[in-house]
Amino acid sequence: MPANPGTQNAPSIGTTAGPAERPNKTLLFVQSQAPHGTLYGQEGLDAIMMGSAFTECAVLFVGDGIYQLLANQDTSLLASRNYSVSYRALADYGVEKLYCTEADLQQRGLTVADLVVTPCVIDSRALQALMTSFDVILDF
């Protein structure tokens, strides 16, 4: 296996490449499901954290995916895991680039102040550029 999961703070692309090594591919994780209704969000977050140990990672929240970041989730009555708070830990893993679209926030009556972390809010043109700028897109 060529990848080395050694570092927790993933340096940006290029700086990891040693003389005989290809630079690691960069990964864009896409979260598109609301939390709790399905396991996609929780299992996707696990994958993001693992990804951060290998290479440069960013996360895009699309559609109902942005609901994963909504603050004040309390799963005690549901007897389910409140993994939303773990998004706060992503920065410690070196994943600092989180994105969502203005349209998705507006459509849901949300602002970034309602969220547990503050993603970068972009428009659909920037979204196209974002997706093109990563080597691999992993969808959840």
Partner: protein, 98 residues
Amino acid sequence: MILHTLNKSPEHAALGRCCETIATGDVLVLLEDGVYCGSAGRDRQVGELLAQNIAVYAINADVQARGLAVRMTRGVTLIDYEGFVQLCTEQASSKRWG
């Protein structure tokens, strides 16, 4: 009358289909991701049901889990699972939309 359950967010066609079909005297229970349909900014169709005097309920555990406690539309009644059971006994049958 019929107890309708809806467990999908407004992104899904289930909400529209439920609203077309629900009749006066029926009740709607929002559960799982369905509770988003009764939250501020997403509640257009649920608001129309309320205006028609159709009773709309949401499972409190689902509302809390999704961080919607302070965002639910006035008129949507929060219930626990016991309340859900009680509603089932009051309606003749149930129909799931999802």
